[in-house]
């Protein structure tokens, strides 16, 4: 479903990704770990087409299509979703209008009629339940004044609404309290199907306990330096990254 080949990317002229290779198949969950500043968020931003980043070489195929040639919105319509490490506050734009615009844009892309107001509100209600998002939050401006944890919960709510096939979760666990983490992770699992995949960026084992990744990657200095099974995450939890560094040297 996702094939990244020799991907190089930079921001403000500074090279961050230095030859990423990664393949995610339908139904798989991949964890991406690595120290602060390793380039994990850079990779997620590049995949969703953030114009602040420049791809200098390499290819990314998504369901057989050249992802790098698509606009960010088309990538979303094709089924790509990013749960942002730092969700953006948009004062004055209500969650309802925001989600309606997103849903209807996707429907238009797939040559479907816009959703009726009643159906849309029903869908909002149902999806809110999946992550137990407070109805008060759903009636406010996008992320405005949301706590750190509420913002993360709101990201997964949006994911529930948009039903992507490949979700990138960039530190969705950070900011969530223990109970909220369980609710959000269980909500995520409810949304899974045999066709949906995820790339989960995290520093901690706790989230992975719920999501049960098939593959774990370690990103260091802009490259994937180690790939393994779920036990690799456990090892990192216990020993940190130094031993991997030594292995490379």
């Amino acid at each position: 479903m996702l094939e990244i080949r020799d991907l190089y990317a930079s921001i403000n002229g500074k090279e961050i990704l230095k030859g990423i290779n990664l393949t995610v198949n339908p139904g798989e969950i991949h964890a991406l770990m690595g120290q602060n500043g390793a380039g994990k968020s850079t990779l997620s931003n590049v995949l969703v087409g953030n114009p602040a980043y420049e791809v200098t070489s390499g290819t990314v195929m998504f369901n057989g299509k050249n992802l790098l040639e698509m606009s960010p919105e088309d990538r979303a319509h094709e089924g790509l979703f990013l749960s942002f490490q730092h969700p953006v506050e948009i004062p004055g734009v209500s969650m309802v209008n925001f989600m309606r615009a997103a849903i209807n844009a996707k429907r238009k892309y797939h040559q479907q009629e816009p959703m009726s107001a009643a159906d849309f509100l029903k869908m909002m209600r149902e999806k809110r339940k999946v992550v137990e998002l407070d109805s008060k939050l759903a009636n406010r401006s996008v992320n405005e004044g949301f706590s750190g944890g509420e913002k993360k919960r709101n990201e997964i709510f949006q994911m529930a609404m948009l039903e992507p096939t490949l979700s990138i979760l960039d530190e969705t666990d950070s900011g969530l309290d223990v109970d909220a983490l369980r609710i959000v992770a269980e909500g995520f699992n409810k949304l899974r199907t045999p066709e949906t995949s995820a790339l989960v960026i995290t520093h901690y084992q706790r989230l992975l306990d719920y999501l049960k990744p098939d593959v774990v990657h370690v990103l260091m200095n802009g490259r994937i330096v180690k790939t393994g099974g779920p036990e690799l995450a456990m090892e990192i939890e216990n020993k940190g990254f130094d031993w991997i560094k030594e292995e490379i040297d």
Binding site: V88, G92, A101
Partner: protein, 447 residues
């Protein structure tokens, strides 16, 4: 030849005709106004309050003037498809500067309330008009007010007697209609007696593709404890030039809210001067400007806190796209003795392109020591992170920009007291941002 000379000549040549087709107090003030105008001339960029609008250039072209008050055939209901329908207003029309009395609303106003032609009022209600006409307007110091006073022959008179509450909003649609390029000098006088309450909505439209140059002077007198909401909604075409000078005098405990909304225009210069003469008065000035193409909008305010315990709030927001240009200059004057004044002024601007330009200039002048005043101005661009966040969710760049602009403008819209207008404005603004209001209703100029 300097452009004021042609107006001096016209006035001198046509004085008899102007008087003949007007009346009472309007004629009485012309000499004084003429003397002021001849002395002042058109303000140049060196005149502080006019430095953002090129006045001489606006008055340079040749415009027709209709001193004989020939009627342009018009059926306002046909010429003007109202953009603010279902408002349940008492609806009146002013065609150019003439109060249109062939289509008066069926509803009757409360006892003693007058809404009529100013020219007619100048004779029929001579005492009332004489008491107020020209008493708030700065005829001696402002060249455009002087010019308007020289030429104004008609317009609107609104009078609400003591303690009368006009429940139904009074809507006045100003229609610019002509077969040649036309200059219009419209005059409005609003008198709110003690404890009177009313809501006035002025909608300005151009229905012909000709160029229009409109000067408007509005004088508002709010007596003790009077409440007035005055809405002005401009939806004219790109060949329209508007100079509007609004003068508000407030007595004690009165509350006046003025909303100036420029939805579509050519060149607009609005001046709003408020004198808070009595204590414990409240003034709210709101402005919303949406401009693109090469539209220009210049709002200039002065709030004169001349008595104790007065409160003023100002919020002006501009959304400038393409090559449009905005200006806001807001001066707050707190006079000696005007203790316990509370005054807030905010001007926030969104420039959606690099070519759009905004000039902003808040000014505080305080001569009392026990006051609370604040002012601030911001000029910002589109939030790139917010745009990208929305695009990641599948919202197109255009739509995302529209949502941000709409959100930005929303603060002023939400402050509007008239609920039906608020709903209607949301709709109109969205259409405007979507480019569906690129041509104003009824005309084909901007398309």
């Amino acid at each position: 030849m300097k452009s004021e000379q042609q107006y001096i000549d016209i006035f001198t040549d046509c004085r008899g005709m102007i008087d003949q087709h007007s009346g009472g107090a309007l004629n009485t003030l012309r000499d004084e106004a003429f003397a002021s105008f001849a002395r002042l001339g058109f303000p140049t960029g060196k005149v502080e309050r006019y430095k953002y609008t090129d006045v001489p250039a606006a008055f340079e072209p040749d415009y027709g003037l209709n001193f004989k008050r020939l009627e342009f055939p018009v059926n306002p209901y046909e010429a003007f498809r109202c953009d603010v329908p279902n408002l349940s207003t008492s609806l009146y029309f002013v065609v150019n500067d003439s109060f249109y009395d062939k289509a008066l609303p069926a509803v009757t106003l409360p006892e003693g309330v007058i809404v009529c032609s100013l020219k007619e009022a100048a004779t029929k209600h001579a005492d009332k008009v004489t008491d107020y006409y020209g008493k708030a307007a700065n005829v001696s110091g402002d060249a455009l007010t002087a010019l308007n006073t020289m030429f104004a022959q008609d317009g609107l008179f609104v009078y609400v007697p003591r303690k009368v509450v006009v429940e139904r909003p009074i809507q006045v649609v100003n229609i610019s209609r002509s077969d040649v390029d036309l200059m219009v000098n419209r005059r409005v006088l609003v008198v709110m007696e003690e404890g009177a309450q009313a809501r006035l909505l002025f909608c300005d439209h151009t229905v012909d593709e000709h160029r229009f140059l409109t000067t408007q002077v509005v004088e508002v007198f709010a007596k003790e404890n009077a409440h007035l909401e005055l809405y002005e909604l401009e939806e004219t075409h790109v060949k329209n030039t508007r100079f509007s000078n609004v003068y508000i005098h407030q007595e004690r405990d009165s509350v006046v809210s003025h909303y100036g909304i420029t939805l579509h225009n050519g060149t607009t210069r609005n001046l709003t001067d408020v004198v808070m003469k009595g204590e414990n008065a409240t003034t709210n000035l709101y402005g919303l400007v949406i401009a693109d193409k090469q539209q220009k909008v210049d709002n200039n305010t002065l709030i004169d806190h001349a008595a104790e315990y007065s409160m003023s709030n100002q919020l002006y927001k501009y959304v400038l796209d393409e090559k449009s240009q905005g200006a806001f200059a807001g001066r707050i004057l707190v006079r000696q003795g005007a203790q316990h004044t509370v005054s807030n002024e905010r001007n926030a601007n969104l420039c959606a392109t690099k070519e759009a330009r905004m000039f902003t200039q808040p000014m505080l002048e305080i001569y009392a020591d026990d006051v609370k005043c604040s002012h601030g101005a911001t000029v910002g661009q589109m939030d790139e992170q917010a745009l990208f966040y929305m695009r990641q969710r599948g919202i197109s760049l255009d739509e995302a920009r529209m949502l941000l602009k709409f959100a930005f403008a929303g603060e002023v819209v939400e402050a509007i007291g008239l609920e039906a207008l608020r709903d209607r404005l949301r709709h109109l603004i969205e259409k405007r941002f979507r480019g569906e209001l690129g041509r104003c209703s009824g005309c084909a100029v901007c398309g």
